[in-house]
Every structure is written in structure tokens, then in C-alpha cells.
């Protein structure tokens, strides 16, 4: 068992651990911080998988901006809310129905997973099991070319959509402030 193998397995383990913590922690601020750690580990995994651009953008956007946004929203709420524990009132109907739904979806997903895995092996053959060794420069050039030439329309539309979303949020808050005044 090589060191690289152990590091990658540990990364995947941390990824799942932080995801579970983000869902299960009672205090919202801790849950958000755990989500940020999960995004950071995911960025490292992207880097390991030869996707440096995706890793950097994931680190900037999900582990940076979105987490800051979460914390800002929590800080705008009443002082008790961000540290408040969730209600622990035991609602058996929700738990049972949620658990049943979870089990059914899990069974379906395992079936889809196995089927898609078999299908992938049919298409790619032995290529799926071998380690990846590719020159690093080609990846950077290919991804940059793909983003700026092949998918330039998507990038422009995305920029416009984000701009419109920002305008919409600004409008919502402006109306809210105007109503109060």
C-alpha cells in the first residue's frame, strides 16, 4: 500500500466525514464551517484528479464566497439564532417517512450505480482501472481552450445570469428597506 493510495483514501474519508458533520451538527455556524472544510477537501481531490482549474475555482467560490455568504446571512439573523440548537422534538412520522424514502432511494441508487459501472466497463474496457498519467501542460491548454472557445456562449450567459441574479437580490432588499421606511 503506497503513500499516495493512503492519502487519497484519507481525502475521501475526510470528504464524507465533513459532509456528515455539516448535516448533523446542531449549531448552524459549526455546520457551515464544516461545509467549508468539505469544499476544501473536494478542491484537493479535484487537484489530485488532474483538474487544477476546477480545483481553484471550487476553492474560490464554494470554500470562499459561498461560506462567507452563509456566515453573513447567519450574522444578520437575531443573535440567538446562529448558535441556537435545532428543536429536538421527536417527530416520529417525519423520521419514519424520511427513513423509508432514504432506504428506497439508496436501493435505487445502488442499482443505477452497478448498472452504470457495468456499462462503463463495456464502453471503456480496461481504461477505467489503470492509473492516469498525462502531461500536465496539455490539460491546462485544453481546459482553457474549451472554456474560452468552445463554451464561450455558456460563459457569457452565465456571467449575464449572475449579473441579473445580483440585480434581483439588490431589488428585493431595496424594496424591503423602502417598506420599512
Amino acid at each position: 500500500m503506497s503513500l499516495e493510495f493512503m492519502i487519497e483514501v484519507a481525502l475521501i474519508g475526510f470528504l464524507i466525514l465533513f459532509a456528515i458533520l455539516a448535516v448533523e451538527l446542531k449549531k448552524l455556524a459549526y455546520a457551515v464551517v464544516s461545509l467549508g472544510l468539505m469544499s476544501t477537501v473536494l478542491s484537493i481531490i479535484f487537484y489530485v484528479l488532474y483538474a487544477p482549474y476546477v480545483a481553484v475555482i471550487n476553492l474560490l467560490v464554494y470554500a470562499g464566497a459561498v461560506i462567507v455568504l452563509f456566515l453573513a446571512v447567519l450574522s444578520l439573523m437575531s443573535p440567538g439564532e446562529k448558535g441556537k440548537r435545532e428543536e429536538m422534538k421527536y417527530d416520529i412520522a417525519t423520521e419514519v417517512s424520511g427513513g423509508l424514502l432514504f432506504i428506497i432511494i439508496a436501493i435505487l441508487m445502488v442499482q443505477v450505480f452497478i448498472a452504470s459501472y457495468v456499462g462503463l466497463h463495456f464502453v471503456y474496457g480496461e481504461a477505467l482501472n489503470l492509473p492516469v498519467l498525462k502531461p500536465f501542460q496539455n490539460i491546462l491548454e485544453n481546459v482553457a481552450q474549451s472554456v474560452w472557445q468552445v463554451r464561450i456562449i455558456d460563459v457569457l450567459i452565465q456571467a449575464m445570469a449572475l449579473f441579473v441574479a445580483g440585480l434581483g437580490v439588490a431589488t428585493l432588499f431595496r424594496r424591503e428597506r423602502g417598506e420599512k421606511e
Binding site: I12, L35, M38, V48, I57, Y62, F70, F102, M109, I139
Partner: protein, 102 residues
């Protein structure tokens, strides 16, 4: 480098965690966290499946980059709506939001 199975399995487990969060939690912030975990699982799947010895698919990576931007927009909009809902109802519990009239 470990095989593709590990990454696909991790993505499937992340997806299940996100679905579990959406099915059982009642706090809006927790639901948004669940949505973000689902998006991250999909991104991991894309990147893992585009990394093979046949070649590294740049199209999948650029698609993930665009999806990250769109996902951040979705999360930002959801958080701003959460803030408005909190000011209107005074709670983050989704069960208590039964009136749609503002």
C-alpha cells in the same frame, strides 16, 4: 492513484447524504447545505468520469466550472430568500411557513 470506483463510490455516498439532509431536516439553512452537497457530488462524478487513460475530457471540466458558477448563484439567491423569510416569519423552520400570502 486509486481507481475510479473509489471516487464514484464517494460521489454516491455524498449524494445519499445530501438526499438524507433534504428528506429529514427542517431548518432552511440545513436544506441549502444539503443542496450544496448534492451539487458537489455531481461535480465529483463529472470530474472522476472525465479522468481516464483514454484521455482527459476538457469539456467535462469546463462544464463543471460553469456549473460551479451557476450553483453559487442558486445558493446566493436561496440565502437571500432565507433572510427575507426569516424577517417575515421570525423562524427558519419550514413547517411553520404555511402562509404564502406576504
Amino acid at each position: 492513484m486509486i481507481g475510479l470506483n473509489w471516487y464514484l463510490g464517494a460521489a454516491a455516498i455524498l449524494y445519499l447524504i445530501g438526499l438524507y439532509c433534504l428528506a429529514t431536516k427542517r431548518n432552511i439553512i440545513k436544506l441549502i447545505i444539503g443542496i450544496e452537497i448534492l451539487i458537489n457530488a455531481a461535480h465529483l462524478n463529472f470530474i472522476a468520469l472525465s479522468t481516464t487513460t483514454v484521455g482527459l475530457d476538457p469539456l467535462a471540466r469546463s462544464f463543471v466550472i460553469i456549473s460551479i458558477g451557476v450553483g453559487a448563484g442558486v445558493i446566493a439567491l436561496a440565502l437571500s430568500l432565507t433572510l427575507l423569510i426569516y424577517r417575515h416569519y421570525g423562524t427558519l423552520d419550514v413547517r411553520k411557513m404555511r402562509r404564502l400570502k406576504w
